[in-house]
């Protein structure tokens, strides 16, 4: 008579097993156009996707972070249709992918509003971030310690900065490491000793962008290539895109898409 009880136990066990099994094999269902990669590109891609989906409600686009390198990896593994990359591809990488520049982003060097320094050379920047220059006095500022703020290892912004500024030098071990543009901004805003780097579009009025090698960090100067600290934002794929992914890509490169990106502070691809 406890057969009923037994049945409910076995039913439960079976249901659980089936659940786990389904969960195991359910990974590959018909899915959206998948973008994976740089957290710097991510917000812009999300914004583009949003614009795109409002205009084309039947389409489906999904954006994930993970970092530039992870994005490339995801493309290789077929987990992503498009990889988002916030740096130039390395010599090793570039033959494997087809990369499309969707926009360019200036890398602004930011300090606290109260900091009197207005211009720095690339060498001075390198010194400030490597720990060779420890006092603002040495670069014409106030007498006080320098606190460089960097991004986390693997971030596209960091990799671009290292590539464009640091050459072979290492970023100082005592540099504060923050995991987002917003966090860097918050720190520099409150700390007169701080120096950091971030996307030009995100600087805002609360921080001071430094002139680098006597060129102002502005959108025009990025567009005309006179401001050297700039990086491409890439959409990366392998082989031909799926039709729906291609449609999204076309939108991004269209006038509408480019204007949307400019409204968010980026510099158009051409």
């Amino acid at each position: 008579m406890s057969l009923k009880g037994l049945r409910s136990v076995s039913l439960f066990t079976a249901a659980f097993a089936i659940g786990v099994f389904c969960a195991g094999c359910g990974g590959k269902h018909a899915r959206a156009v998948n973008l994976v990669g740089s957290t710097s590109v991510q917000p812009f891609a999300e914004f583009l996707a949003e614009e795109y989906l409002t205009a084309h409600p039947t389409e489906n686009v999904e954006v994930q972070g993970g970092g530039s390198t992870a994005g490339l990896q995801a493309v290789i593994n077929g987990l992503a249709d498009i990889g988002m990359c916030s740096r130039s591809l390395t010599e090793e990488e570039s033959p494997k992918f087809t990369a499309t520049v969707i926009a360019r982003d200036g890398l602004a060097i930011v300090v606290n509003q109260s900091n009197s320094v207005t211009t720095l050379t690339t060498e001075q920047l390198r010194g400030l971030f490597s720990g060779a220059i420890r006092n603002w006095k040495e670069v014409g500022g106030h007498d006080g310690p320098v606190r460089p703020i960097t991004r986390e290892e693997g971030s596209g912004t960091r990799e671009s900065f290292v590539h464009l500024v640091m050459a072979k030098e290492r970023i100082s071990k005592s540099a504060l490491t923050q995991e987002s543009n917003g966090a860097v901004k918050e720190l520099v805003k409150g700390d007169s000793a701080a120096i950091g780097y971030m996307s030009l579009g995100l600087v805002g009025k609360e921080l001071k962008a430094i002139r680098v090698d006597d060129v102002e960090a502005s959108r025009e100067n990025v567009l005309n290539h006179s401001y050297k600290l700039a990086r491409p934002f890439l959409f990366v794929a392998q082989g031909p895109l799926r039709p729906d992914a291609q449609r999204f890509m076309d939108f991004v490169l269209s006038k509408e898409g480019q204007q949307a990106l400019e409204s968010e502070g980026l510099v158009r691809a051409q």
Binding site: G5, L6, F12, A23, G27, H29, E50, G65, S180, G182
Partner: protein, 279 residues
């Protein structure tokens, strides 16, 4: 050696203890007040029922609410039956021995493991090895494992609180052990079990590190268990850290805090009723 007389020491000590307690309560009130004062004015109906726009700078948090409910709900739905079954086994089917202490040891250790390790495990096991991807189900299974010890512990306490005489009576009336458990013991222990479940929901909702690595962060409405999603806690983290919108960050945190507050109140209320009934 004696600076103060015992009576003076008593006064000083009591005053110190009360100060410490007051500061602690002050911190709690400050944290909750801070978030609610800055966030609550922005929690509007449309904020709760709209999708975010411009990465969350405007719009609402509906997809995050759905994702949070889905991940936390599914986690408890999985951990609940497993946890209760474990508690039933420990209390009704075995005598204290090597096996029970082994199982308890496992649960206690599991309870102490930090969420980041659960996250890493969920990431390699559910997301990659089992191929579930960054998804609601990966997140839910990871959280299920995380809250399992809480459910086992509370269910065990609740089941043990059911008087032994109930079991004798049930046996005396000709029930099998299983009938006795399902018809007498579990119904009587239900409020206690519910308390554990409610607290586990609260813990799942506030978890960030483990969810970030397993459920992903796509700020979209999850349409199936295999979609990536962004929970409220993670949304708050991203909004505030990326400096996208502080008002929306505070509003999101307010929603989180209020949910957790209500869950705690519910758990406390159920527990009180339970205690009164069991006496």
């Amino acid at each position: 050696m004696r600076l103060l007389s015992p009576a003076q020491a008593q006064k000083v000590a009591v005053a110190t203890m009360w100060t410490l307690a007051a500061i602690t309560i002050g911190i709690l009130v400050f944290i909750i007040g801070y978030i609610l004062v800055l966030g609550l004015p922005y929690v509007t109906w449309s904020f709760l029922t709209e999708a975010p726009r411009q990465m969350g700078r405007s719009g609402g948090i509906l997809p995050m609410i759905v994702a949070t409910v889905a991940v936390a709900g599914l986690a408890v739905l999985i951990a609940g039956p497993v946890g209760v079954a474990t508690a039933v086994y420990l209390t009704e089917y075995t005598r204290e021995g090597r096996l029970t202490s082994f199982i308890r040891f496992g649960a206690d250790c599991l309870a102490g493991i930090p969420s980041i390790i659960f996250g890493l495990f969920g990431f390699v096991f559910f997301t990659i090895t089992l191929g579930m991807g960054l998804s609601v189900i990966s997140g839910a299974l990871t959280l299920a494992l995380m809250v399992l010890p809480t459910i086992i512990r509370t269910a065990e306490v609740a089941i043990r609180a059911v008087p032994y005489s109930y079991r004798e009576v049930s046996y005396g009336l000709g029930t099998t052990r299983w009938q006795m458990i399902t018809k007498v013991v579990l119904p009587s222990a239900l409020p206690g079990i519910c308390t554990g479940v409610v607290l586990s929901v609260g813990r799942s909702i506030s978890e960030t590190a483990a969810v970030m690595l397993t459920a992903g962060s796509a700020p979209r409405m999850p349409e199936s268990m295999f979609d990536s999603s962004r929970t409220l806690a993670l949304h708050f983290y991203i909004l505030s850290r990326e400096g996208i919108s502080m008002t929306n960050a505070y509003a999101t945190a307010s929603v989180l805090i209020i949910s957790i507050l209500s869950l705690n109140v519910i758990a406390y209320w159920i527990m009180n009723r339970f205690m009164r009934r069991v006496r």
